[in-house]
């Protein structure tokens, strides 16, 4: 097989996979093709799922949306918006981060990479809103798992396994998602000039308050200019969502509780939108010049220490999301490994891990973008890959060598 394959439906897709199985021909699974920069460099014949798109059903009162896997996110978001709902995990649009246009990604790509935005800390990740699917495995068989209701424990939770599997296990053809009411209103409490350690303490305090805190982020002074209209000093943001009356009480009381960290500005819904979109879409670490960008997960209260351990040894720009639980880092002097040893060493000391989100192909081949973990976990991952895709046809090597 050569050229690009574009199956019209699941049946054609199945036949393509069967042919690939016979010919032992690896396939690169793409739909929006906006995430080729993530993971190890793709290989194989491009298999373009773009025609497997469209809404299957949407019942807002059941909180359930079913769509074909290559349905563009912009379409899904517009259907949800009409019903006053959203995907609570706040999926980012990383097109521009990878030097591609915005608005091109598909739901299948978002699920396959388990991408989640600032609200993840409250509402869960993409995987927590992924309820069921139909797919084709590496044997060329159609199979399904999960269901079309919001609560289900029937059989293994293969949705979790497929979310974040980078298309290495099966080709999704249809997904069922949990849709939730969008917040009525939004307020952001913004504190200026905090150090990283004070910011981490303040954000932790906000999450220990009895209010509906939906996100917390900290952007240092050197990156604040990229948030739109806020410059010159660091900014620490705490976001509340809910009915307007509740938001007033939340911002008043939490601002009072955080008075030791300075007077807070209150941003209304309109003023909140830009900074949170920037935090979500990694805008503070633009320009997209191909420099290495890392995403580290650490216990939130340890974020400032982890950042200090990295900046002591490596030139980086950084900011925090998830109240410190997520650290975004751009490496300024990357060296041969993109800073892997220093970044992974520092966050590993706190029990965390780091994913290389963007780098040149050379660095992505040399440095595992995803940390394979212990030898035992890697061996198990290989056996799981084999249980779905015995000949490693799908996105071969996108996660680890051979997986």
């Amino acid at each position: 097989m050569t050229g690009r394959l574009r199956p019209a439906d699941a049946a054609e897709l199945r036949e393509i996979v069967r042919a690939a199985l016979e010919d032992d021909e690896p396939l690169e699974i793409v739909s929006g093709a906006t995430k080729r920069g993530l993971g190890r460099p793709p290989q194989g014949t491009p298999l373009d799922l773009a025609r497997l798109e469209g809404l299957v059903s949407y019942e807002p009162e059941e909180l359930i949306l079913r769509a074909r896997a290559a349905t563009p996110m912009v379409a899904i978001e517009s259907w949800l918006k009409q019903a006053g709902q959203n995907l609570a995990f706040e999926p980012p649009d990383l097109g521009p981060f990878y030097d591609l246009p915005a608005g091109r990604q598909t739901i299948g790509g978002v699920i396959a990479t388990n991408l989640s935005g600032p609200r993840r800390i409250k509402a869960g990740a993409a995987r927590d809103h992924f309820l069921g699917f139909s797919a084709v495995n590496g044997r060329g068989e159609d199979f399904k798992a999960g269901g079309h209701v919001v609560k289900n424990v029937t059989g293994y939770d293969l949705c979790k396994l497929l979310a974040g599997s980078y298309g290495t296990l099966a080709i999704l053809t249809e997904v069922t998602l949990k849709a939730l009411p969008a917040p009525e209103d939004v307020r952001t409490l913004a504190l200026a000039g905090l150090s990283a350690s004070d910011a981490v303490r303040a954000m932790g305090r906000a999450f220990a308050s009895p209010f509906d805190t939906s996100a917390a982020a900290h952007v240092p002074a050197n990156l604040a200019a990229r948030l739109g209209g806020l410059a010159g000093q660091s900014w620490t943001f705490v976001r509340f969502e809910g009915p307007e009356q509740a938001l007033r009480a939340a911002t008043d009381e939490v601002a009072r509780d955080l008075a030791a960290y300075g007077a807070a500005e209150i941003l209304d819904a309109a003023a909140s939108a830009a900074p949170w979109r920037a935090v979500r879409d990694i805008v503070p670490l633009f320009p997209a010049d191909g420099s290495c960008v890392w995403r580290a997960s650490v216990p939130p209260a340890r974020a400032a220490e982890a950042v200090a351990a990295i900046t002591a040894r490596l030139g980086v720009e950084w900011y925090l999301d998830w109240a410190g639980g997520r650290i975004w880092l751009r490496v300024l002097d990357e060296g041969a490994d993109g800073g892997a040893e220093i970044v992974r060493g520092a966050v590993g000391a706190f029990g965390g891990h780091a994913v290389l989100m963007r780098a040149s192909d050379a660095v992505r081949l040399k440095t595992a973008p995803l940390n394979p973990g212990s030898a035992g976990a890697l061996a198990l991952s290989r056996r799981i890959k084999q249980s779905f895709d015995p000949k490693a046809l799908f996105n071969r090597g996108r996660m680890y060598d051979g997986v």
């Binding site: 995987r127 009480a249 035992g376």
Partner: protein, 493 residues
């Protein structure tokens, strides 16, 4: 269950001796009297006497037990507190029960990172009790939360009355330590979110003890809402109550809890608990709103208005914490309440799209007359999770059998209307033979191949979840079955 292997039964003394060499002293139970305590779990209709029970107290001991069992070719049934309602911990006569009861300590309370690290035998409620002094709690609250263990909650991916808003176990879990059948110990996740690589944490959650033995759990804890208020809403019919539920959600409100009971359940609960329920109501809703006081005030008014529009006949709002708990007391004691009006009952568990509720309840009444058995319904209304309670008397010949068939018909009905076989209790042995109504043979084979990646000899909790057991070697073969067409005309770009 699969017929016990005679050769294994004949080696019993050797197996017990080998286990004693690994776990000393009272960690191995082989005496018939003591074993009887383990012959069933919360699904008491099924019983079996295990070969032996082993109670290790460290992760290393668990590893040695599993290694020994693998070398001996002996099956292992993991067990937490034994409260499973689907028979997840039902012993095998030719297998060893591995009890995690000695893993009963909370290891770390980390308020700064809002998480708790606990051993798997710690009771669900004990986690909340350990952090409530600081204003925190652990959200998933299965009704057996006083007794059920956190390890068992992970194995079954347990829910509770608050899970529409706060999620089930998998949504509240950060890390696990797990021992594989190979004796290997894996640490997954930790105090941070979203490990990279395959989501093994998510896969193990709800795997019903078939993939590994959990030896440590890290859960996230949440700040307890300032205010919680319950509305008690009586409706003339389940249809009206169901419409109210749909309207609340359509209004963009996700209550902390939203429970429905049908008339037989209302009567049983009221007679038992005296919670002040309207005995004549066709259906009762308890809607709990939580959050900051101003938010709760606002939402209470909105839910009241919706309930009036839906024809509510009884409307009470809790004015105190005492009254809120009283509203809940009837619902929370629904199971023992039904236990008082019937010698035995089955607690079923299926999920349906909510819009199908009245159809399902009507059909259930027909089935009730056909089988000559009473049924009462409690229902996690927000997420469509039904718990029909089938009343029977095991001492009346034929009733158990009829109750089982009635239950199976209800679950098939759930699947027929677009739902699933189990919302929060797991498949276990109870629903194993119904898996084919929801999944194709290919679906089930794919799941079993995942099992093979963890446990190639099929020694961990076999006979649960899957109706037909295949050997891993057979499942692993790759058949190349090219279809008739090769798509020579397929557009290529």
């Amino acid at each position: 269950m699969p017929a016990p292997d005679r050769a294994t039964l004949a080696r019993r003394e050797d197996i017990v001796a080998r286990l004693r060499a690994v776990v000393s002293g009272e960690g191995v139970i082989a005496d018939a009297h003591a074993l009887a305590a383990y012959e069933c779990d919360g699904l008491t209709a099924y019983r079996a006497m295990p070969l032996a029970v082993v109670l290790p107290s460290t992760t290393a001991e668990v590893g040695r037990v599993l290694t020994a069992c693998r070398e001996l070719g002996v099956k292992v049934v993991p067990r937490g507190a034994g409260t499973s309602l689907s028979g997840g911990a039902l012993p095998l006569e030719d297998g060893v029960v591995l009890g995690l009861g000695k893993f009963n300590r909370i290891l770390d309370i980390d308020l700064d990172n809002r998480c708790v690290v606990a051993q798997p035998g710690v009771a669900n409620l004990a986690i909340t009790q350990a952090v409530e002094h600081a204003g925190f709690y652990y959200a998933p609250d299965p009704s057996s939360q006083i007794a059920c263990s956190i390890g068992g909650n992970v194995a079954e991916n347990s829910g509770g009355v608050h899970c529409l808003k706060y999620g089930v176990t998998t949504n509240n879990l950060l890390g696990l330590e797990v021992v594989l059948m190979t004796g290997e110990v894996l640490r997954l996740g930790g105090k941070h979110f979203d490990a990279d690589g395959y989501d093994l944490l998510g896969l193990l959650t709800g795997s019903e003890g078939l993939l590994g033995v959990i030896t440590e759990v890290t859960v996230r804890i949440l700040r307890k809402p300032d205010t919680a208020r319950a509305l008690l809403l009586g409706f003339p019919s389940s249809e009206a109550a169901g419409r109210c539920v749909a309207e609340v959600i359509a209004a963009g409100i996700i209550p902390g809890g939203m429970e429905m009971m049908d008339n037989p359940a209302i009567r049983a609960a009221e007679d038992f608990a005296g919670a002040g329920y309207p005995r004549e109501a066709g259906a009762l809703l308890i809607v709990e709103l939580d959050g900051a006081a101003v938010e709760v005030d606002h939402l209470t008014r909105r839910v009241e208005a919706i309930a009036r529009d839906c024809g509510v006949t009884e409307l009470r709002v809790s004015a105190s914490e005492e009254e809120r708990l009283k509203f809940w007391s009837g619902r929370k004691s629904a199971f023992p309440a039904v236990g008082r009006i019937s010698p035995d009952y089955f607690c079923m568990d299926g999920t349906i799209p909510r819009k199908q509720l009245s159809k399902v309840l009507a059909r259930m009444q027909e089935l009730s007359s056909e089988y000559g058995l009473r049924v009462a319904n409690v229902f996690h209304a927000g997420d469509g999770n039904l718990h029909p309670l089938i009343l029977y008397d095991a001492n009346v010949p034929g009733e158990l059998d009829r109750a089982e068939r009635f239950g199976a018909d209800i679950l098939k009905l759930c699947v027929e209307v677009g739902g699933v076989l189990t919302g929060e209790h797991g498949v276990g042995v109870e629903k194993r033979d119904l898996m084919g109504t929801m999944f194709t043979e290919i679906d089930l084979q794919q799941q079993q191949r995942v099992k093979c990646a963890f446990d190639p000899d099929g020694l961990l909790n076999p006979g649960k979840v899957f109706p037909v057991l295949h050997r891993c070697a057979e499942l692993g073969r790759v058949h190349v079955h090219r279809g008739a067409m090769r798509f020579p005309d397929l557009p290529r770009f």
